[in-house]
């Protein structure tokens, strides 16, 4: 929508930011406040979603811009003051962009407490608002109001955070196949609490992990990637100690480091959810194992088959912790099936069962691996009451109930 007055601009500022960004909504509450001159800020967003602007550096230049509407050949300094004021407006309106069911204000706690949240929030917000200022000007028709504003100078801010944000989004783009500008946009349209999560989701959803990790474990896996990426950006506070030549390099390194940490966590998740190579199996009766697998190929695929509790709890029978963490276990197509066959055989040999020995069920393997995801699978565990003991049977098979509660006697 083209605006012709400062009042119209202020009324349209949030809707225009939503239009150019494709955000779900703006969480601006519709209230504007004048910043206290003693605060010495150009603009800010309060945690009740009110936007405030400084009179001298934002409101006044914008008023002057409309007073001088359609005046050509205004001097560079005047045009710069208009563009800088408008850049502040877009920066604040980018802060309040939010995903469905969320608002900027929901991120108050994260802004203070989540490692790296402020660096990523300001880095992405500045990067997006600086790079898309002309789209905002076009949407609002301001080149007609202030001819020359599209090419006037307005320098970027937060130079301690923007190199990190740039390298962070580029590194995500490289690994996900999503254009880095699109990565910036997707992070800009969610609040400060959600930016790391969205970054982790982009990496996860555009990798092979959705094909390896059960759907119900997706959130836990994404959280691991999200957490891994936070700490490197939290360390940007140490820039105070860097010499001036290293400031932006350190910021850029932090951005790259954050994604590399996320990628390393993805490798750990991949290893965890991928069966080990045959060569890395414990070599108990490999001949029998292979023969069993060949004789009973369905057993490795059949989720109905079960495993004894002892086997389920013995990590050596499944995968060593080292193997679970080893990024080299990134699998080629087909490798998982081979490993599954060998694993089946190994289990059978260890249990001392005959050819009909049972393999791990898919559900059981998932449960064991879920125990390594950082979640707490036993968090709901409690001692069984007398009437509950011995009552759980997964297959419905009949059998003698256990004896009464020794521990309670």
């Amino acid at each position: 929508m083209k605006v012709t007055s400062q009042k119209e601009l202020m009324a349209e500022q949030a809707r225009s930011a939503v239009r150019i960004s494709g955000a779900h909504h703006s969480s601006w509450n519709g209230r504007l406040a004048v910043a206290d001159p003693a605060r010495k800020v150009r603009g800010a967003v309060k945690w009740d979603n009110t936007i405030e602007y400084d009179n001298a550096s934002v409101n006044e230049p914008l008023r002057e811009m409309f007073d001088n509407a359609r005046v050509y050949n205004q001097d560079a300094e005047t045009l710069r003051s208009y563009r800088e004021a408008l850049k502040t407006v877009l920066h604040e309106n980018t802060h309040v962009l939010a995903a469905e069911g969320t608002d900027h204000s929901d991120a108050q706690h994260a802004f203070n407490h989540t490692p790296g949240a402020r660096a990523l929030e300001e880095g992405i917000t500045e990067l997006y608002s600086y790079n898309n200022l002309n789209a905002y000007i076009d949407d609002l028709g301001l080149e007609e109001i202030a001819p020359g504003i599209s090419t006037a100078e307005a320098r970027p801010s937060y130079k301690q955070f923007t190199p990190a944000a740039t390298r962070f989004t580029e590194a995500i783009g490289r690994r996900s196949g999503v254009d880095s500008d699109e990565v910036v946009r997707r992070l800009a349209v969610v609040n400060a609490e959600q930016k790391f999560r969205v970054a982790a989701e982009i990496l996860y959803d555009n990798s092979d992990l959705p094909g390896l990790v059960p759907d119900q474990e997706r959130d836990a896996a994404v959280r691991r990637i999200e957490t891994a990426m936070q700490e490197p950006l939290a360390n940007l506070g140490d820039l105070d100690k860097s010499d001036e030549d290293r400031l932006r390099r350190e910021s850029a390194k932090a951005g790259a480091n954050a994604v590399q940490a996320g990628a390393a966590e993805m490798n750990a998740i991949r290893a965890q959810w991928t069966a080990p190579e045959p060569s890395r199996q414990v070599t108990r009766g490999p001949h029998q194992a292979t023969q069993q697998a060949q004789n009973n190929p369905q057993q490795t695929q059949n989720p109905q088959q079960t495993q004894s509790p002892q086997e389920a709890q013995d990590p050596q029978l499944v995968q060593s912790p080292q193997e679970a963490q080893d990024p080299r276990q990134a699998q080629e197509p087909g490798r998982g099936q081979q490993a599954g066959q060998a694993q089946h055989g190994q289990t059978g040999v260890q249990s001392g069962a005959s050819e009909g020995a049972v393999a791990q069920s898919g559900d059981l393997q998932n449960a064991m691996r879920a125990g390594l995801t950082g979640t707490s699978p036993m968090s709901s565990a409690r001692a069984l009451k007398a009437g509950e003991q011995g009552a759980r049977r997964s297959t419905g098979q009949e059998g003698p109930e256990r004896q009464g509660p020794e521990r309670g006697a």
């Binding site: 967003v45 320098r155 506070g237 390099r249 790259a256 080629e332």
Partner: protein, 135 residues
């Protein structure tokens, strides 16, 4: 060379990046690229290439030095943003940092004043986030 060896070589180069020119690292980048090309596993080779691209992106930041005023303001911002102390102590430090950044902005060249003063915004938003915890 396997991927683990590549990672060791890569990390040595990445960690050594400080303020040297990109040209200084050209032989290292060429060496890492040669190593990466020998990795047989497609996933590992792709990961190695991504890491090298990360490094090249970092090395691009050697041509635009920051002004002394911007460096001073960034340092003031970093000190003010420290998470050390109680909410009350942090708010006091943030307010002092905002005063310092405003002073630096006033003394900077006109074209840079806005971009320096803009940094007070995040300190102010942090103050407002801390205020409920300071009561």
């Amino acid at each position: 060379m396997n991927f683990e060896q590549f990672e060791v070589e890569y990390q040595l180069v990445f960690d050594s990046v400080e303020s040297q020119s990109a040209a200084h690292f050209a032989p290292d980048v060429a060496r890492l690229k040669a190593y990466a090309s020998t990795l047989e596993d497609v996933r590992e080779r792709t990961e190695a290439e991504n890491l090298i691209a990360d490094l090249e992106g970092v090395l691009e930041y050697d041509a635009e030095p920051l002004s002394p005023a911007m460096v001073e303001a960034i340092r003031a911002h970093a000190r003010a943003d420290s998470a050390v102390g109680t909410p009350v102590e942090r708010i006091a430090r943030l307010e002092a940092g905002m005063e310092e950044i405003a002073r630096i902005a006033e003394g900077a060249e006109p074209a840079e004043q806005a971009s320096i003063l803009e940094m007070n915004e995040s300190l102010y938003m942090l103050i407002m986030a801390l205020e409920p915890e300071s009561r």
